[in-house]
């Protein structure tokens, strides 16, 4: 046995023959994962309460939990299509909750901080708001990391898939929102020239294609329509799986495949002739005046040409052929590409688009109630005069765009925000800031640590910051330990004693560190004395730097 490989991978274990068991066996071990969850919950609660952003963190953490659920759904192998659909649908509420939580608290902070008394105050308040935002975001990431470390689903691949999913799900809502807003702009603002010009352009086009003036030959437009129709028909014939379906069947004495070949050849010749004649027809139709044409041709020929090129029925038929051919070609191409793809892949591929459709349809059904509730909520949070002003303004906006447009637009914005957030997360994974192997614990520990650090810049008690930082490191440690132990030994083995021993060791070190820091803080004056780090602070900074240097040298 080569010890390295066997300890690091489940492949060589005979027990892995039992697939159903092995799937759940190689997940992070239970006790340490529980430590991660409890530690993260405690840290998030402590820090958000101390920073005064309890409400916003509660909302955004629920969004993070939903996002974790969506990530887990993407790793489910068995019901891939429904799981993908569910994950796509969950991404919008997840993004919405995170955006709402963070946005709400930031709005509250802005309202409380501004207008600031002087220039220094502006900087101070901005830094304060930055601190609050960092606590919010840190707590959110911590919750996401904790829930993702249960099954270790926070990986670059999963996050990348999730991003692809939300982008595809957002396509339809964004498109619909843009279309609705554009329509509202055009119809409500009554920009007459645009409207009129569009009308005129479309009628000119329709006339040129379908009902040209019947007195003179319209060779150019007719030939264009003809060329497009023959080319589309040829493309459709090529795409159709005639040969495969016909096999060796015959009609009479002739094989169907031969007939199909002949038809295809004929269509290709027609398309080629039409295409080759296009320059000549354009030249004659555009450059040569009708009068010259009439003079140059015998009267019967001229009459015939005029009748043939201006006949509305023929043109309609040609346009119809084009439309049907394009439809057939697209359908045949879709069938060809999907026929060898496993059904589950196919369904999972279409699931995000279905989710986008469901989002738009859902917005279409409940938009009025949602918007009323939303506006009522915001107005209820504002002071009386401001609330009236808000109601008036929002009423105007709703009247202008329509409530459906606004709800779909909000959903589209949330989807775009979610896509942006996931992309940023993916970049963090891709650049190696978050290691792939322990993505969940790293997010949980890192998020908590950032939240604790920035909570230290706000008016929070020192012990909260210290405990937050210690919890962050303990959470990361437990999560990393659980992942390694799960990969090396598995969940089915007896691991509790080792895990508890490890956790007790980590927590004791944290406790000692917190006690030492509290003792140290007695010697340091606290409170923001802006612009003046006193001697003790500088000494402390020097000591911290020295210890870091010592530890690095020891390695």
């Amino acid at each position: 046995m080569t010890d390295e490989t066997t300890l690091d991978g489940p492949e060589t274990d005979a027990a892995s023959a039992d697939v159903a068991v092995s799937k759940t066996n190689w997940a992070p071990t239970r006790t340490s994962t529980a430590v991660v969850l409890v530690g993260t919950a405690a840290g998030v609660t402590l820090l958000s309460r101390a920073a005064g952003v309890g409400t916003g963190v509660a909302v955004s953490v629920s969004g993070a939990l939903i996002l974790g659920l969506a990530l887990w759904l993407l790793t489910v192998e068995q019901w891939r299509a429904p799981a993908t659909l569910a994950a796509s649908l969950l991404l919008v509420p997840a993004g919405g909750a995170v955006a709402a939580g963070v946005g709400y608290e930031l709005l509250v902070e802005f309202a409380a901080s501004f207008p600031a008394p002087d220039r220094t105050g502006v900087v101070g308040q901005t830094l304060r708001i930055l601190g609050v935002a960092a606590v919010l975001v840190g707590c959110t990431f911590a919750a996401l990391g904790a829930v993702a470390s249960v099954r270790n689903v926070a990986e670059r691949r999963t996050v990348g898939r999730c991003w692809g999913l939300v982008v595809r799900a957002a396509l339809l809502p964004v498109g619909v929102a843009l279309a609705l807003a554009g329509r509202a702009l055009v119809t409500e603002m009554e920009i007459l020239p645009i409207d009129d010009a569009a009308d005129r352009a479309s009628s000119t086009f329709t006339d040129a294609v379908f009902a040209p003036t019947a007195t003179d030959p319209q060779l150019a437009s007719f030939w264009v329509v003809l060329t497009v129709a023959t080319a589309a028909a040829f493309k459709a014939l090529v795409e159709l799986p005639t040969r495969e379906l016909a096999g060796d069947s015959t009609i009479g004495e002739i094989e169907v495949a031969e007939i199909a070949d002949a038809v295809e050849r004929g269509a290709s010749v027609l398309a080629f002739v039409a295409f080759a004649g296009l320059p000549l027809a354009l030249l004659v139709g555009v450059v040569v005046p009708a009068a010259d044409l009439r003079a140059g041709l015998p009267p019967e020929a001229y009459r015939l040409l005029a009748d043939a090129t201006t006949n509305t029925g023929v043109r309609r038929a040609l346009v119809g052929i084009t439309a049907v051919s394009v439809g057939i070609a697209v359908a045949a191409r879709l069938v060809r590409s999907s026929i060898r793809t496993p059904t589950s892949d196919l369904l999972a591929g279409y699931a995000p688009y279905v989710a986008g459709l469901a989002i738009v349809a859902g917005a279409g059904v409940v938009h009025e109630r949602v918007l009323d509730g939303l506006l009522g909520f915001v107005a209820g949070r504002l002071d009386a005069p401001l609330a009236d002003e808000f109601r008036r303004l929002s009423g105007n906006v709703v009247e202008f765009y329509g409530s459906e447009t606004i709800v779909v637009g909000l959903l589209a914005v949330v989807a775009v925000l979610a896509a942006g957030g996931l992309f940023a997360l993916w970049v963090a994974f891709a650049l190696g800031f978050v290691p792939d192997r322990v993505g969940g614990p790293s997010l949980a520990g890192g998020g908590l640590f950032v939240a604790a650090g920035f909570a230290g810049t706000l008016d929070t008690p020192l012990w909260v910051v210290l405990v937050g930082a210690a919890l962050a490191l303990a959470v990361w440690d437990a999560g990393e330990f659980a992942t390694t132990l799960g990969a090396e030994v598995g969940r089915r083995a007896e691991t509790r004693r080792v895990e508890l021993l490890h956790a007790v060791g980590t927590v004791s070190v944290g406790g000692l560190a917190v006690a030492a820091a509290v003792g140290l803080a007695g010697a340091v004056p606290s409170g923001p004395e802006v612009g003046a780090l006193d001697a003790a602070g500088v000494a402390l900074l020097g000591a911290v730097g020295a210890v870091v240097a010592l530890v690095m040298a020891l390695r």
Binding site: M1, D3, E4, L7, D13, A14, A15, A17, R243, G247, D248, S249, I339, T343, L346, S442, G445, F449, V450, A452, G456, T457, L462, V465, A469, E480, F481, E488, V489, R492, A493, E494, T495, R497, V498, L501, H502, G505, T506, V509, G510, L512, A513, V514, A517, L520, V524, P525, E529, V530, G531, A532, A536, L540, L541, V548, V551, M552, L554, R555
Partner: protein
């Protein structure tokens, strides 16, 4: 022993840096104090070391020590810390032989051992026949902080080989099938036991077959004819034409491979049941078959010419099956490659014959392969076609055979699958073809590849051997 220090707490240094930066940015001395926490963890990791720790000793035992096949054996590992320092994190993986399956417990464990402490790890495996040598368990020891780590394999004391022998020989497959020697009743009158018909005496008829009672009653000489019985000769035809080389999923055996496997098992079972069996294969190229193919492209090996020769046919089919990657093979049954693409003369265009077979009574006349096959068949042969039935050729063979009075059994491995729309269509196509085959009087056995082959073989053998 490999020793490895993982710098687990390097994140703590980054944290210290973050706190120091924030402290300077916000002019907040408290944050320098907070930096004590990550630094404490970094120091905790840096100071913890495995020095002085020794790998624990392991002793293995089996209960029962020599089990019968199929019995559960409990494997117990006693792990003992013989060193002077405590081992806070010992991870152990026993090296279970690949043939043994762990049914309960886990051959892996994570233990914490004080000096002199002993722990047991036990799990159960199912014994299979043979001697199975367990390898040395791998052991990885870590400090409490999991920073320092040593990996080694310790040789386990006690039992290392699980012996599980079988007193009686493995029952051969043929025992399970009915052991009736194949005779084959025909519809023509002649020698035999069962009454068939009477006809007027012709000079040369045996005296023993004259109906003397009727002669006494009426004075006419009549000859009694009995239902003729012939020794059955079974011809196993393995389909390895390019169209049969489709596969259900990437990495799975293709139709020709499965046909070869099924054909070989069938051949063994038939010869074990004393049925005269001949093997042939379609779709072979000259270089597939050792010594080259006969002029008509059909290797023709009977059980009387030796089992080894039959194996040659099956291995030739195996070579033919491996020749095409699954991507080169048309999976749609209707698209049959041209003979030149298929290589051998045996790869005659197959689908063409279907409709002609329907209009021309002897379809074999138009299809080269069927004609050659029919030429080779003796009058008393029954035919077993082993084919995934991915084109119409088996049906035209069935029609030709039924015209000539041969019985046909088709054993068909299913390689269509249903995990994509195209495969579902191919599966439906195949189901229709099997139905058509039954309509021509052939017996079909549909072998779902997920089921053991034994079930399908049992069914086809029952059909083949029931003509006693």
């Amino acid at each position: 022993m490999t020793r490895e220090r993982t710098s687990r707490w390097k994140g703590g240094l980054a944290g210290t840096l973050l706190l120091t930066t924030l402290g300077l940015l916000y002019a907040e001395p408290r944050l320098f104090v907070v930096a004590v926490v990550p630094i404490a963890y970094v120091a905790y990791g840096a100071l913890s070391s495995l020095s002085g720790a020794a790998a624990p000793s392991v002793e293995r035992s089996f209960d029962p020590a020599s089990p019968p096949p199929g019995a559960e054996v409990e494997v117990t590992l006693r792990v003992r810390n013989d060193g002077d320092s405590a081992l806070a994190d010992v991870r152990l993986v026993d090296d279970v032989p690949d043939e043994l399956r762990v049914v309960s417990g886990s051959p892996r464990a994570a233990l914490a051992l004080r000096p002199g402490e002993e722990a047991t790890v036990s799990y159960s495996v199912v014994a299979t026949r043979g001697d199975h040598a367990f390898g040395d368990p791998a052991i990885r020891v870590r400090t409490v902080s999991a920073e320092d780590c040593a990996t080694t394999a310790v040789s386990a004391d006690g039992d290392t080989t699980l012996s599980c022998s079988l007193a009686v020989a493995d029952p051969p497959f043929a025992r399970a099938s009915p052991r009736r020697v194949g005779t084959h009743t025909t519809d023509s009158g002649g020698d035999g036991i069962e009454f068939h018909s009477t006809r007027e005496y012709r000079p040369g008829d045996s005296l023993s077959r004259i109906d003397w009672r009727r002669f006494a009653k009426t004075g006419d000489l009549t000859t009694v004819r009995f239902r003729e019985e012939r020794a059955a000769r079974t011809v196993v035809v393995v389909d390895a034409r390019p169209v049969a080389r489709a596969t259900a999923r990437a990495g799975y055996p293709n139709g020709a491979e499965l046909s070869a496997y099924a054909g070989e098992r069938l051949y063994d079972a038939l010869t074990a049941a004393n049925v005269a069996t001949t093997v042939t294969a379609l779709g072979l190229r000259d270089d597939d078959f050792e010594g080259g193919l006969p002029p008509d492209g059909l290797p023709w090996v009977g059980s009387d010419s030796g089992v080894a020769d039959a194996r040659l046919v099956f291995s030739a089919v195996g070579r033919a099956a491996d020749r095409d990657g699954s991507n080169d093979v048309p999976t749609d049954g209707s698209a049959v490659p041209s003979p030149s693409a298929a290589g051998a003369s045996a790869d005659a265009p197959a689908a063409n014959s279907t409709r002609r077979a329907a209009t021309v009574p002897d379809g074999g006349r138009t299809d080269e392969t069927i004609r050659r096959l029919l030429t080779r068949l003796s009058a008393d042969s029954q035919v077993v076609l082993v084919s995934p039935v991915l084109d119409d050729w088996p049906e035209s063979l069935a029609r030709s055979l039924s015209v000539r009075g041969h019985e046909l059994t088709v054993l068909s491995p299913d390689v269509t699958g249903d995990d994509s729309p195209g495969r579902s269509v191919a599966g439906t196509h195949r189901a229709i073809r099997l139905w058509d085959l039954r309509a021509t009087g052939a017996t079909t056995v549909d072998w779902n590849v997920d089921d053991p082959l034994g079930i399908a073989l049992e069914r086809s053998l029952n059909t083949l051997l029931s003509h006693a």
